[in-house]
Amino acid sequence: MSQRNFLVALAICVLFIPPSAALQAQSQAGAKSTRQANKKQPTAMHNQQQHENEGERIFKQNCSRCHTAPEGFSPNISGTIVRHMRVRASLSQHDAQELLRFFNP
């Protein structure tokens, strides 16, 4: 399952599981799934936030060093921009991947 699908599934769980758990307050299993969902949510959000911060840091430190950022562009060319920047700004593969995640969260 892709990360995006996983996050959508997680969001659905977060939205619907707590009310279900409240209705079944006596249910041990319901309480357990709620605890798991709540536990996973901050972790996933934290990871996504971390990737965004890392990508933003790479963007600011490498791309913005030479030029101002363009005022938006089509997502269809985000991969091409990153590959171009990888060559021009001598980015490592890891930095290029983080930059692509930043462009396509």
Partner: protein
């Protein structure tokens, strides 16, 4: 740099221009054919067309010229590891006729600035082949595009270490040697063959550049070296320091270059205030600039494109960053030398474009 090189070119006759344009067209068609033949695996990897279009005005020592210019850039990924990229320059130069005559003289130029294939071989290594911008110091391969440079004119020392044409034909290895949170080191090393081709003119040469970047202090320090491997066999040495204090829109850039017959430096500072509603407020869009540069001749042999006598120049600029990737560039420069002092007034407007070559797949 590109503008400086083409502005210094002799006036071509019509048949030569048509010949050059035909060659440019053939090169462009070849590049497009490669792009069209490619299969794209990812929706984000649609080829892009970027670049800048500008209208520039320059009055140097009383001589005025007008220059519309377009610098298109195309980048097309092939598979997971290749990228084909090319930049061209098309310009027309208009200057009022002298001797009391009315009307304008004009010259034009169209040519490829570079055309290279990049192979992303390893996480820290990219192999480049074709015609590429020489990575000596920073101006030539990082700041020369018309949509990036703060001043219309390149620095006086831009010709040092860039082998006249600014490009090499051959191969280059480049990439990030180390990338950590606290520091990163990048490198570029290249070899160029001699080429007399109209579009891909180059000299036999080799060189290396390496830079250390410290993210916490936003400081970049780099060293360059290259050697001309034909004719006089000259060595060129370069160093650059860039500093951009964190959470400010202040940038300080500088370069030093030393050749066999001349040397020089430039220091450029620019600033945008965030104090009155951020960078996108009408005040925050103003960008005052200052550049100081000096060149020194080491002997009387002139082979490097620098002024014939020691020269000092101060450039004062005020750019305005309009919405939609448009910039107004204005500057006044005073140049001092034993051959005479001159005033240089420059204004211009530049627009940067960036869009997919075609609609591409939806994600």
């Amino acid at each position: 740099m590109q503008v400086a090189i083409v502005a210094a070119m002799p006036n071509p006759n019509m048949s030569l221009s048509l010949f050059k344009m035909a060659r440019s067209a053939r090169s462009a068609i070849f590049a497009l054919a490669i792009i069209c033949a490619a299969q794209y695996g990812h929706a984000q990897d649609t080829p892009l067309i970027s670049g800048g279009v500008a209208f520039l005005h320059n009055t140097n020592g009383g001589n005025t010229s007008y220059q519309p210019i377009i610098e298109p850039l195309i980048a097309a990924p092939l598979g997971d590891h290749f990228l084909i990229e090319s930049r061209a320059a098309l310009l027309e130069n208009f200057a009022p006729k002298g001797n009391g005559q009315s009307g304008y003289d004009h010259t034009h130029f169209a040519g490829l600035t570079y055309l290279q294939a990049d192979y992303l071989a390893l996480p820290h290594l990219t192999i480049v082949g074709g015609s590429f911008l020489l990575p000596f110091n920073t101006y030539n391969d990082r700041l020369s595009p018309v949509w990036i440079s703060n001043f219309q004119d390149g620095p006086l020392i831009a010709a040092l270490g860039t082998m006249s044409s600014g490009t090499g034909v051959g191969g280059m290895l480049r990439g990030s040697a180390i990338s950590r949170r606290k520091y990163s080191v990048d490198y570029a090393t290249w070899f160029s063959a001699r080429s007399g081709n109209e579009q891909f003119n180059s000299k036999r040469s080799t060189g290396v550049r390496t830079s250390l970047y410290l993210p916490d202090s936003r400081l970049e320090i780099g060293l360059s070296y290259d050697r001309l491997l034909q004719g006089s066999g000259e060595n060129f040495y370069g160093a650059h320091v860039w500093w951009e204090p964190k959470n400010t829109a202040f940038r300080l850039r500088s370069e030093f270059a030393r050749g066999h017959h001349a040397q020089g430096y430039w220091i450029e500072a620019d600033y945008r205030t965030q104090a009155f509603g951020g960078l996108n407020s009408w005040i925050g869009r103003f960008e005052p600039l200052f550049r100081m540069q000096q060149t020194f001749r080491r002997d009387t042999i002139v082979s490097d494109g620098l002024p014939l006598v020691n020269t000092q120049r101060a450039d004062f600029g005020l750019d305005y960053n309009l919405p939609h990737n448009t910039r107004i560039l204005t500057s006044y420069s005073r140049q001092f030398s034993s051959s005479g002092n001159t005033n240089i007034w420059e204004t211009g407007i530049a627009y940067r474009f960036l869009f997919p070559a075609w609609k591409g797949k939806s994600q």
